[in-house]
């Protein structure tokens, strides 16, 4: 079922969710902001992935006073992400799978998360959600919408989503022409949201790749880690100390990246000292090992790791270089 909603759709939905106790956030060019009503269309995708909204780091996990260790209750305020893109919504479902293996930094937040997904009529040149099977129309979430002129075409995806629509009085089915327009937009967007060679279609070549292939793939990589810090599914974190006095302070968790030199470094040796080994870890984990670990891909095709890379490397260029030969 697709419904038609007028220009105040976001106002109504957001007000309702807030009165139900959700903290409501929407993405923008500059990060995610708490919103109370309508907001303008976010970028495809927004530069900051939702994991940073669900857990802002550094985040305190232990308070230490001398030799007293105090448990720090994690923040459990329910969050509603409004305007989250389909790839990012899918990424959170992937993190839910990861959390079944072992808790992630967003586990608490996932257990009472509400997602209102903004579908993508205009994928970016680095978007490949159609290859990844995560977009450009919403695959997961509670409610999906697409902006159409002044109004919105709205699809409930869960019972909760349906109930929300009913509660804000949206019950007008979209007219036939609007449905045709919607399908047309999705079809066009789907064609655009692909990349050749697609990172998702070359697992065998990646498994066979040699050290020289990875050297070629990483020759412009600085090992800065922007790729995995901006990747919506990367779950790695460091634990660090904070000091507030001579014997007072605590421990914080911080989102981290396997691209950094110290990530795997031990006193005895560093198994991924060279940059090709580190870029390989990122690409192989996302596209090959993730499947073995969690039964699903680790890449939703948002393209951030390439579009936000200072040297335009990321998964798109890396795979292209590896499969070149």
């Amino acid at each position: 079922m697709i419904y038609y909603a007028g220009p105040d759709f976001l106002d109504r939905v957001i007000r309702r969710l807030r009165s139900d106790g959700y903290a409501t956030y929407a993405p923008s060019e500059w990060g995610w902001f708490e919103v109370e009503g309508h907001f303008s269309e976010p970028p495809t995708p927004p530069p900051v992935p939702p994991k940073h909204v669900l857990r802002k780091t550094p985040s305190l996990v232990l308070r230490v006073k001398g030799t007293r260790f105090e448990y720090v209750e994690p923040d459990r305020t329910p969050v509603a992400l409004i305007g989250i893109r389909p790839c990012d919504a899918f990424a959170l479902e992937i993190l839910r799978k990861v959390s079944m293996f072992s808790p992630t930094l967003v586990t608490e937040k996932l257990s009472n998360l509400f997602m209102v997904v903004e579908e993508c009529p205009n994928p970016s040149p680095t978007c490949f959600c159609a290859d990844a099977g995560t977009g450009p129309d919403a695959r997961v979430g509670d409610l999906a919408y697409m902006r159409l002129g002044d109004g919105f075409l709205v699809r409930p995806l869960t019972e909760r989503g349906k109930a929300l629509l009913v509660s804000v009085g949206i019950d007008e089915l979209a007219p036939k022409e609007a449905l045709e327009t919607y399908n047309d937009i999705v079809n066009k967007a789907t064609k655009r949201a692909r990349i050749e060679p697609s990172p998702h279609h070359h697992a065998d070549e990646l498994k066979e790749a040699t050290w020289e292939d990875w050297e070629r793939a990483s020759r412009n990589c600085a090992g800065c880690g922007s790729c995995s810090i901006s990747c919506p599914t990367c779950f790695c974190f460091d634990i660090r100390e904070v000091h507030e006095g001579p014997d007072e302070g605590g421990r914080v968790v911080v989102w981290d990246t396997c691209l950094s030199l110290y990530f795997a470094a031990m006193a005895s040796h560093n198994p991924r000292e060279k940059i090709p080994a580190r870029l390989r870890q990122f690409v192989m984990h996302k596209l090959v090992w993730w499947r073995e670990q969690f039964g699903i891909t680790g890449c939703v095709g948002c393209g951030r790791c390439t579009s936000l890379c200072p040297f335009n490397v990321g998964i798109i260029t890396a795979v292209k270089e590896v499969v070149k030969k």
């Binding site: 996990v61 232990l62 230490v64 001398g66 030799t67 260790f69 448990y71 720090v72 209750e73 994690p74 959390s99 079944m100 293996f101 072992s102 808790p103 992630t104 930094l105 586990t107 608490e108 996932l110 257990s111 779950f235 790695c236 974190f237 460091d238 634990i239 100390e241 000091h243 014997d247 302070g249 421990r251 968790v253 981290d256 396997c258 990530f263 795997a264 470094a265 031990m266 006193a267 005895s268 040796h269 198994p271 870890q281 192989m284 984990h285 090992w289 073995e292 670990q293």
Partner: protein, 269 residues
């Protein structure tokens, strides 16, 4: 309800009951701690030096009410851990990881190959073998860089007296050493002449384990009967932080003990 990272990262208190100096840079901490699960040989704990940091440290001894950890000083956290005194309190959480498969070795000959600090996680294996009356079916091959780097020197004699076949070596000739010299992996072929159809547990520097696996394979030992304990940098110890990954494997959860044939595929040895 899913577990939370915060909850799992909260340590309990461990009181240092005794500190035994093993070598210039190594001590054994005897500590009183009450974990929810009884640790098994091969598992490890995260030891927290308050406001300095945490290190993964194997159990080097497991007794009623106390556990032992043997720590070698290599950096920030281990510097604090090796300078503790009785009565000091640190943070502790665990046990973590997959134990040595003691049941695979039960009723069979066991060759234990240890290099340097790698003796620490194997010490409870020796204890267990002696307790279970299998000392005589146990061969310990143990190598260190120099005589004063051999850990548990007093105990080595006791193990020998209890029936364990203890064979020591140090890397290079040394004025105070009249025993064997050379790498510990060179002792494996001889041990294989004594042992019948053995199982092997190995722990030491990565290159030593790689060589040892090669020697066992060359001697016709099925690598599904050889286990090693691997070291990787760890932050959480329970599969969340991602630090210890090798390919699809989380060393903290799927290891640190691995069957050699399985590990080989992952590491490409």
């Amino acid at each position: 309800m899913m577990d939370s990272v915060t909850h799992k990262l909260t340590p309990i208190k461990a009181v240092i009951a005794d500190v035994i100096k093993e070598a210039e840079d190594t001590v054994t901490l005897v500590m009183r701690v009450s974990p929810q699960k009884v640790p098994e040989p091969g598992q490890f704990a995260m030891l927290y030096a308050p406001l300095v940091g945490e290190s993964a440290i194997s159990f080097s001894g497991i007794r009623d009410g106390v556990v032992e950890h043997t720590v070698r000083r290599v950096g920030k956290v281990t510097t604090v851990l090796t300078s503790l005194s009785p009565g000091d309190v640190i943070g502790w959480r665990g046990p973590y990881g997959k134990p040595w498969p003691m049941s695979e070795a039960k009723g069979r000959d066991l060759i234990v190959v240890a290099g340097g600090i790698g003796m620490a996680p194997l010490r409870p294996v020796i204890h267990r073998r002696i307790d279970e009356g299998e000392a005589e079916r146990t061969i310990l091959l143990y190598g260190a860089r120099s005589p004063d780097q051999l850990l548990y020197r007093k105990e080595l004699k006791e193990w020998q007296e209890a029936g364990v076949d203890v064979r020591l070596t140090i890397d290079k000739p040394h004025p105070s050493w009249s025993g064997r010299t050379g790498f510990v992996t060179e002792l494996i072929p001889e041990a294989l002449e004594t042992a019948k159809d053995p199982v092997a547990f190995i722990c030491g520097p990565e290159i030593m384990m790689k060589v040892a696996i090669g020697v066992f394979e060359k001697s016709g030992i099925d690598l599904s009967r050889v286990w090693v304990s691997l070291e990787r940098k760890m932050r959480c110890g329970f599969g969340s932080c991602g630090y210890c990954q090798i390919g699809p494997i989380f060393v903290c959860r799927h290891g640190p003990t691995f069957r050699a044939d399985e590990l080989r595929c992952v590491l490409g040895w």
